[in-house]
């Protein structure tokens, strides 16, 4: 499976709320202490849910 989008994390904006990781339907994101990281890039289906629900403008989903 190949990624449908590239997820950009702006770490200095991320406050570690974990909403993005929790509601990612394909578990692309994981929490690394207080910052989210892309743990499973290939699984991304470009649904954009993480970006839409990030309260901190810390995620950009670049569709491939």
């Amino acid at each position: 499976m190949s990624a449908k989008a590239e997820i950009e994390i702006i770490e200095r904006y991320c406050k570690g709320c974990a909403i993005c990781a929790e509601f990612c339907p394909t578990k692309v994101l994981e929490m690394d202490a207080f910052v989210v990281k892309v743990a499973n890039a290939d699984a991304c289906i470009a649904c954009n849910q993480c970006e839409l629900r990030c309260p901190d403008f810390a995620i950009k989903v670049h569709k491939l």
Partner: protein, 271 residues
């Protein structure tokens, strides 16, 4: 390309002041997309707020922004709109700001059906002052001023807006991000007073006191309690107990206040 929020945000203003997991940022993003959809011009759009966490929203936005006094957003906005009806006027603020100290202004803006969009972020608490109960805090819930549980009944903001005369009323939650911008955009396009209630979470001052283990728990509750109006129509009263109706709750076309006043000017000047 990812959606470009920064084009609507003043340079250097991020990160914002809201706590980790506070849904206000999700609502702000929805508002930005909605304003974009409607093609609003920065110089011709006023964003007006009161006081509180949600009322800090306009400060980030690269438009004509007015951060007023506690509860007064709708009244200031009425002056802006009445004086310059060609401007698009959007209010935003919280539940305490809009329905307690600002309740009178809120209902009368609805009654006049003045062409404004009020995005009311309902997180059931006074967050900025540290978690005192608001008119929207659920009965029995804990707040810093209801240590034994909240004895007060609550306001249903959307019902209040409909009862007061708003002609477009919609509700969604911070979880339902794609619905936020759609409803706000519909509200902006609607001629008259539109109220979009976004049921929101305050993990810091509400969640912790009320046994939510995490931000995610609060978001799950928003996800699970929301019922679209169409689905609700097929559900029984028992099934709807504790649910939040989402979507467009009310819409009608009625004369708009500034247009009505313009008719008076035309009549007086023509006479």
């Amino acid at each position: 390309m990812a959606y470009d929020y920064e084009k609507s945000i003043r340079p250097g203003k991020l990160p914002h002041i809201w706590c980790p997991g506070c849904g206000h940022g999700i609502v702000m993003k929805g508002l930005i997309r909605a304003m974009d959809t409607c093609g609003l011009e920065k110089n011709n759009t006023a964003l007006v707020s009161g006081i509180g966490c949600a009322s800090r929203l306009p400060g980030y936005m690269d438009f004509c922004t007015l951060h007023t006094a506690h509860g007064r957003a709708a009244a200031f906005a009425t002056g802006v709109k009445m004086s310059k009806p060609e401007m698009t006027v959007i209010c935003c603020g919280g539940d305490g700001d809009g329905t307690a100290i600002g309740g009178n202004h809120f209902i009368h803006a609805c009654r006049r059906n003045i062409d404004m969009t009020y995005v009311l972020l309902n997180n059931h608490i006074y967050g900025m002052t540290g978690g005192q109960f608001s008119p929207c805090t659920p009965t029995d819930a804990k707040a810093s001023t209801t240590p034994y549980g909240n004895p007060d009944p609550t306001f249903d903001i959307s019902k209040l807006a409909i009862g007061a005369g708003a002609t477009f009323v919609a509700r969604t939650t911070a979880f339902h991000a794609t619905q936020i911008d759609k409803l706000i955009a519909e509200g902006i396009k609607h001629k008259g007073m539109s109220v979009i209630e976004v049921v929101d979470d305050c993990p810091t001052t509400y969640g912790r006191r009320n046994k939510f283990r995490s931000v995610v728990d609060m978001m799950k509750v928003l996800k699970e309690t929301a019922v679209p109006v169409a689905a609700a129509a097929k559900m029984s009263a028992e099934q709807l107990e504790g649910k939040i109706l989402t979507g467009v709750l009310y819409k009608e076309d009625k004369p708009e206040y500034c247009e009505q006043y313009k008719k008076i000017i035309d009549r007086v000047q023509g006479a």
